[in-house]
Symmetry: C2
Subunit: 432 residues, 2 copies
């Protein structure tokens, strides 16, 4: 039946699916507004060069890109950050800082579809511009936690693995790595859980001045550190940049203190295993993971203070994060945190041929009052209409029977209790 | 400044623009739910053949279409109806009828950008399946009116121009046009206001058995008819298909009677000037126009009972309409029906270094209660923070002064009246 198919990795949203999606979106929006973030949006389609300039090759290889009818190289966005950077960059000077913005939108990547990864997915993005303090980082991280808590998820369900690329960079500098090679070294370290040790060692050897075996051991040691105290001890033994390390650990302490003041200490794990793949992160980075079960990543983000300038705009500090709908939706379903979504009909109006005209008048009037009203389109016998009312899930049936209407009344039936009462038509809106 | 540009015909939504867009979307959604419609959504990207099969050549020439990395011919949707038809067609047998669905989404057409016409635009779509009665048509038309009324637009601002392609088809049949040529003839008639008479006459002459000059005169006569009574008189003189014409005029009367019962007679103009360009309409068709001013079209739709079957699914009656965001948004701005959109901060929290920790605890707690809270990120002097509170548009400043906190209190300042009161911290949520 039917000759058309949906593209692989894309989704239809039938009413139940759409209700779940909107339920998730409503929580995103509500939490972001509670934290004083304002909503923005950008085009789905942008010049390809915008994505190439920001994201580098991995993402460009996954673009839905093409030439439009005007000969422009264009692509459907693989993520929101490049468009956001363009928008903020263009108007940063005229906006009060900090700039706190959020967005909920669809992104597109041509990847092999698999569980939790689709070619089209929604993301919530929140970003804070114009402040490079740990307090700004805390504003972003706490919003991530607030969103997940708003669904009913608790500290046993998820945690924030919090790390710092600046401390990683200090370690690399102490190990003799040139500044120019630090981004490359960080991308090797980022892959340490996904590649075999021999490959990692070989990749480290490619970096100038590096003893791969020895550095591999140091990296494993750092990755297992779970407190700033132990990190300090590691650096004490390891290198001479005491001042820089101390300053950075002090910033990290401030961030943790602020998160603690928010009451969120239980949600945080200091974990230098988090590096984040994208080259543009410049400071604290974090990922939110399921604590048990499949330990899936739910969200990720961090500080990226040089991106806006790199794209040709003014200097503008930035920190942000994104959370996707697919993995989160799966988790909420598994945990039983998804409610049922009834059709949300408040009144079902029932009428005869004789009372049709007056029923219609009131159907439209109720709808104008933002009351959700349905009916059978045409008068059939009352038992059929009552059955339809029950199936609709309506809270009330409003029955315009011939005798009631003669008295300028209607019968209001509570569909749950089956209680019926006759009310004056002019009064019944008040009684619903 | 900055080296990136948005594509022509696309829009950035800075927070004010996004607020207006969401304001419009909220009215769409609210009205649709009030009428018992359920929300759905479909992929932005579909196989090109879906659009080609449904919409014909004009739209295919305007597609953002390309070959994806898997060699598939794909296109960004130019309208929602083809995806909707696919979705409904696939599951029609398992769904209770009538099926009443709505959607709000972006569509894409490569046209010359101009005022009121962009390459990316949002549309609200509402469709009712599984019922081919005038009452179903009324449900759709009245939803269109309900939406526009919900913004404050009244009968002097807009009207529904209501027509019937079945009556047009009867006229053509009476004039000797073959059934197979009726769609082609209707598309000539549809262009009558946009092309010079000589072109219309020449195009009519191309149809078998047609005297172009004569038919042109008849068409002008029909287009000027504004009542069913006069339409009946026209047909009386004109042709022998009395029974079919009578039946159809009776259906039209039923539709008008139902619209009148809804209290919407004042919004309706019987107007055979409306034909609708798309070939798939099979019955009543309508367009909603500004009544004065530029007389722009705001919305349009009609019955399309053969489309689902044509696409390879089962027989399914259908009626629907769409309303775009661009022309409507322009009209609402001109009429002054767009409110201002404040940042919607409820509380702005002010604190010192000494009270920072307790302030943070309450900031997060308030946000968890869905109260919109902002703050200066760090303690500065109170007058600076109060200024920021005023700029944020907050309703209340909550001041954690040192002496108040010692008494487990905070000062709540009403930012409008400047009234201040000291409240127990544990009580202040209740007082906000």
């Amino acid at each position: 039946m039917g000759s058309f198919h949906i593209l692989p990795g894309f989704r239809d949203f039938y009413p139940d699916d759409c209700a779940l999606r909107n339920f998730i979106f409503d929580h995103f929006r509500r939490s972001a507004q509670a934290c004083g973030f304002e909503e923005y949006d950008a085009p789905v389609l942008e010049p390809t060069e915008l994505f190439a300039a920001k994201s580098g090759e991995e993402i460009v290889g996954q673009l839905f890109s093409f030439e439009d009818k005007g000969g422009r190289a264009v692509a459907m966005r693989p993520e929101m950050t490049p468009s956001l950077a363009r928008m903020v960059g263009e108007r940063a000077n005229s906006m009060k800082r900090p700039i706190k913005w959020f967005n909920i939108s669809e992104s597109f990547r041509y990847e092999r579809p698999q569980k939790g990864r689709l070619r089209s997915f929604y993301q919530f993005n929140a970003d804070l511009f114009g402040d490079n303090s740990p307090e700004a980082d805390c504003e972003i991280i706490s919003l991530g936690i607030l969103i997940l808590k708003s669904f009913g998820l608790a500290k046993d369900d998820f945690h924030v693995r919090l790390s710092d690329r600046k401390l990683w960079a200090l370690f690399l500098r102490c190990s003799g790595v040139d500044d120019s090679e630090i981004p490359c070294a960080l991308s090797v370290i980022d892959k340490i859980e996904r590649e075999v040790p021999a490959t990692i060692v070989a990749n480290l050897e490619k970096i100038k001045n590096v003893d791969g075996e020895r550095m591999f051991g140091d990296i494993l040691a750092i990755k297992n550190i779970r407190s700033l105290e132990n990190l300090g001890k590691f650096f004490e033994k390891f290198c001479a940049m005491e001042r820089e390390v101390e300053d950075r650990i002090s910033e990290f302490s401030k961030l943790l203190a602020r998160l603690n003041a928010f009451g969120l200490g239980n949600f945080i794990t200091v974990d230098f295993g988090i590096v984040r793949g994208l080259a543009y992160y410049t400071g604290f980075v974090f990922e939110i993971f399921e604590r048990s079960g499949q330990s899936r990543a739910l969200a990720g983000g961090g500080r990226y203070d040089s991106l806006i300038k790199k794209l040709g705009y003014g200097d503008l500090a930035a920190v942000g994060f994104a959370i996707g709908d697919v993995t989160l939706g799966n988790l909420l379903k598994e945990k039983g945190f998804v409610p049922t979504f009834p059709k949300n009909i408040h009144c079902f109006v029932i009428y005869s041929e004789q009372t049709e005209a007056i029923a219609m008048e009131h159907i439209f009037a109720l709808r104008e009052k933002n009351i959700n009203v349905d009916h059978c389109l045409r008068p059939t016998n009352f038992s059929k209409q009552l059955k339809a009312a029950a199936q609709s899930g309506a809270k009330y049936a409003i029955i315009f029977g011939d005798s009631e209407v003669q008295m300028e009344c209607a019968k209001v039936k509570d569909m749950e209790t089956s209680e019926e009462k006759i009310v004056k038509i002019q009064d019944f809106v008040k009684k619903l």
